[in-house]
Amino acid sequence: MWLERGGPLSNAKMSNRIQITKVAPSFEELQVGSEISPITKEVTKVQIFMFSAVTWNRHRIHYDSDFAQTHDKLPNVLAQRPLLGSFLAQMLFDWVGEKGKIKRVEWSNRGPAVPDDILTCHGKIVKKCVIDGEHLVELEVWIENQRGEHIVPGKAEVIFSPSS
């Protein structure tokens, strides 16, 4: 899949396809109450498997649909907690880019995320302040599925570099 889409050999074209949307404005321009650029993820069974592989996660509910359904009464194999967190972190990282860094991110799993779900990560600025010289932005973050259910609520703190 990666090679078909260009892969490492076509770096020149890569910048047109990366999922980097609008980046954050400067700290001064950030508006409390505004939303950052959302990102969307279409969950696949293969991707859940790939994430289990890279984290050496052998928990059956992430790769064995029959087991997930019969033993754990789940609708299908589940997207992993660190994968859902990684989606939120990607949104934050795409947004802040080189202007700062993610300091904290928290999330909890309130509902299952399964293959064929279309998940959208959202973030909203709830506070900005300067504490001990740190330009801190607090965000409410969440993942919503295609039925509008907020399956992963959370929050995050991003630090902006003073020069940005």
Partner: protein, 167 residues
């Protein structure tokens, strides 16, 4: 849910238990694969995969995605030491509970230095709390596990506190 149902003594004894630190050397391939697994059908940010691109960034070279440290979090146990659902048992920080199902609850992550290729990441886990609540369909057991990650320069990389919910 009511709180404070007693937990077995063997489980209570595990509160405060720390694991022996584990260290892993990180390769470009580890970072690339993790980035691909998170990116789904799209290309990952070239900062994670393309040295030339990453050199021009403020990081001056390839870094790993923010939550890459999760790829170091696993138990070094053989397949014979996995329970029916695939979770490891009998590890240093295994909390003995009368359970057969597990699901990840919440996570809180604090981030420090980014991970780079050739870094040696050392991870230490600790059982912070174990408690039990009465759920609709029976007792639910909660284990709060903290893991701390540092690099070979002694820099703080990440700390995660998560709740494993079992029944």
């Amino acid at each position: 849910m009511s709180k404070d149902i007693a937990i077995p003594d063997e489980a209570k004894k595990m509160i405060g238990k720390e694991s022996t630190p584990q260290s892993y050397e990180i390769t470009k391939k580890d970072i690339r694969r993790f980035a691909q697994a998170v990116a789904i059908g799209k290309d990952p940010n070239p900062l994670y995969t393309d040295e030339e691109y990453a050199k021009k960034s403020k990081w001056g070279g390839i870094i790993a995605p923010p939550l890459f440290f999760f790829s170091c979090y696993y138990e070094e146990v053989p397949e014979s030491q996995l329970r029916e659902d695939g979770l490891p048992q009998g590890t240093e920080i295994d909390v003995p509970l009368p359970v057969s199902q597990a699901v990840g609850g919440g996570s809180a992550v604090e981030l420090g230095a980014p991970v780079r290729p050739s870094d040696v990441i050392t991870l230490k886990k600790k059982i912070v709390d174990v408690y039990c609540k009465q759920g609709k369909s029976g007792k639910l057991y909660f284990s709060v596990i903290e893991s701390t990650y540092t690099n070979q320069r002694g820099q703080f990389v990440a700390r995660e506190r998560w709740t494993l919910i079992q029944r």
